[in-house]
Subunit: 508 residues, 2 copies
Amino acid sequence: MSELKTAITPRRDQDFPEWYQQVVRAADMAEASDVRGCMVIKPWGYGLWENIQHQLDAKFKATGHKNAYFPLFIPISYLEKEAAHVEGFAKECAVVTHHRLEVGPDGKMRPAPGAELTEPLVVRPTSETIIGATYAKWVQSYRDLPILINQWANVVRWEMRPRVFLRTAEFLWQEGHTAHETREEAIEETEKMLGVYAEFAREHLAVPVYCGEKSESERFPGAEKTLCIEAMVQDRKAIQAGTSHFLGQNFAKASGIQFQSREGRQEHAWTTSWGVSTRLIGTLIMAHADDDGMILPPRVAPTQVVILPVTPKPDTREAVLEAAHKLAAEIRAQAFHGAPITVEVDTRDLGGGVKSWEWIKKGAPVRIEIGPRDLAQGTVALTRRDKGPKEKAFVPAAGVAEQIPQTLQEIQDALYARALAYRDENTKPIDTREDFYAFFTPKNAEKPEIHGGFANSHWCGNPKCEETIKTDLRVTIRCIPFDAKEEEGKCVVCGAPSAKRVLWAKSY
Amino acid sequence: MSELKTAITPRRDQDFPEWYQQVVRAADMAEASDVRGCMVIKPWGYGLWENIQHQLDAKFKATGHKNAYFPLFIPISYLEKEAAHVEGFAKECAVVTHHRLEVGPDGKMRPAPGAELTEPLVVRPTSETIIGATYAKWVQSYRDLPILINQWANVVRWEMRPRVFLRTAEFLWQEGHTAHETREEAIEETEKMLGVYAEFAREHLAVPVYCGEKSESERFPGAEKTLCIEAMVQDRKAIQAGTSHFLGQNFAKASGIQFQSREGRQEHAWTTSWGVSTRLIGTLIMAHADDDGMILPPRVAPTQVVILPVTPKPDTREAVLEAAHKLAAEIRAQAFHGAPITVEVDTRDLGGGVKSWEWIKKGAPVRIEIGPRDLAQGTVALTRRDKGPKEKAFVPAAGVAEQIPQTLQEIQDALYARALAYRDENTKPIDTREDFYAFFTPKNAEKPEIHGGFANSHWCGNPKCEETIKTDLRVTIRCIPFDAKEEEGKCVVCGAPSAKRVLWAKSY
């Protein structure tokens, strides 16, 4: 086999979508299953999801939320209660119609004709309607509010063009569902939870995000406002990494969530919902991975430090393994952001190069090699995944454990800084329609190359202008940023007056 | 309203099934949903499940397992691959037949006729077949074995007579699925995981269990051996609290999990599967609750200590609340089994009696009242949920926090001791058919009273004897205990020679 320049083929700049699939495979994070559109999340990918779960869950609890669990199935009639909602989800629903199998005339199993459901059930694409029906029973008085509940669950949205972690028929997520006494309180909750997501993305995933509101055309079906965090990945496209919806009284009216107010009136509650999903894993990959594979931010890496014992000769093997396990124990005794550092000693009987490259491709933040020579010299060889594979630091073994928390934080910060620099470099204020079209048009139309970015351009607020751009360029408004400053300008599409710039991009 | 003697009506001895439902309701743990057979797990019930999850998960990881996630849907043809398996589950499968809704001629939503699946999908009742198909791709050589994976998931088994936590159409569980090189190793795994369940039941849930093997008629469909832990609840019936299956090569053959052995031969792997579910919550309730509501073992209680500030007068209110929060912080700084103690200060604007009884019914292990008089005297009033509601201990406020871990352990131990004594009292060696029938026949046939227990009786090994007893008494062999000693005896049914006693009981 000839020496490859990178561990992943093709490289990002050659074929970004294919590079993505190859990183997922090389990092052993997930694979397509035989069930159309459904993925198998493998231990390395699931370990990452578990960390995301635990860390987000702690933030939800710290903001007063509790977890609960609601049914997987939703009667069709529930979905129908909110017109925009059913319209939004009807085309991608998995529908359960029977509750038994039987042997058919051809000797094969089939849904038993005698076991047809009187009302078909939809596998939840999201749970506003079923949870709303439940809250309607729980809420009588203003004293029963607020309800602050989150659910960790699987959901199903039938996908015609599935792509692992990004668009799959089944995915894992959390969905917060809250009900409040006043409009103001519900809006405050919607904003607070978007803030939790933004902080989590920045500090845990090392992914910088823009926070803002969606335009009407991109809103959640049935919502009054959809807030979102938008990240840029390495092909300069946007990915919506989390959303928080202010649902007004729409779902409360549809589900009958009513309460007696402090003034003794019957009123409808104000509700919110907010969620992030396994799509975050796709975001992480596209934001941080390089042409050698995954690069995991230390805070969410399933294994933060990998120790690779180098045992070329039987007579030094014991001593090397002992030193490796001793170092592992010392590192595990260290804490990183309040949790013990996770360490794996890879003692598998494989060549050192093969093992090392496996961990590079998986994106483990720190690799430490210990061999007989290191033992003799009292050193170890430390490699950071955010640096080149050959940039080994030979450091004294004594004190290396104590230094690991700082090294992990440096990697975490470096990943964030790199992603931020990339995003900022590729976010451009664009003021003319001509420049705008040029920005989003690949120079070489044949290759799926990397181009464009975020255009920070004026918009008059007319959905027709959005529509034009979507049709012409497949570019959409990703958000109207919270921090967009008021300024006089002209809509980049039609030239009408505009008071602020919004973010435009191609997106996942 | 007249003074009730107990918080729960009816009492256990009056109507055990109805008492159970009322405890679930009074403890605010779960409720039936509008979706047939599906439950809503409310925050107090789900908090309990989260603790069960985290604690079991740590044990799985300590025994070398990793989590992963497999598809919710299983193609019918997969289920068919193992004959006994499909036979066992076909009658209770939710079947997805369409992937889109559309508006029908009556203006209502219906499954779109044009979106029928070519092969219907079953919502997983258990995942042996879909996971087997995946393992078949992962395993080529003995070097790829063992695979030690667990999944936390929802599963669906259509239930005609649902009962919250005990039998619901959808429930939450974990399913471990492992593949091994040899029969011996797979059997060892099967036994090891049953041991994990037994230890968890005893030490975390305070539920004593018998460990043993199922007779053939009670085996998991497709398994070669099913091991189980069986608990006795307070109507003296048995409940299977966890199972671990040795699947032999059945599923490996059905799914094609093959590997090249150390000797270079193609061989089928040996697999296991093992699971516990939200049924454990039903077990906990029936094992520990009393006529005043739930009693939670401290190790799994969502809130271990509740502080109830008593604030009769506005002028002392501030001082009482301050003392309550200070005590809460002191108790949270204490650890119980390696985790910070969970404390809630209930500051709701409700009468003290109402609040106190809410927490009694929820089963919080320790309640602490602090009022103005306590402040003056430097005491608090501590009540243990395993003792009577009036058995308050007035203890010095100084040092109470430090004493809580021991108090929690005492409660944990007391619950176990009580459950063990109850079980042992109601486990009888029975040697004649007449005594056996008498044991399992209620004295008063009209009332659903508490009777019977575990009969420890000889069995010749003939399935016909089991069948007779099942038909006559609705009693089954719960397990052939691992520790049953070899002795000469006669089958309690037919009188044929028998080498050991087995455990018989009515069951959930």
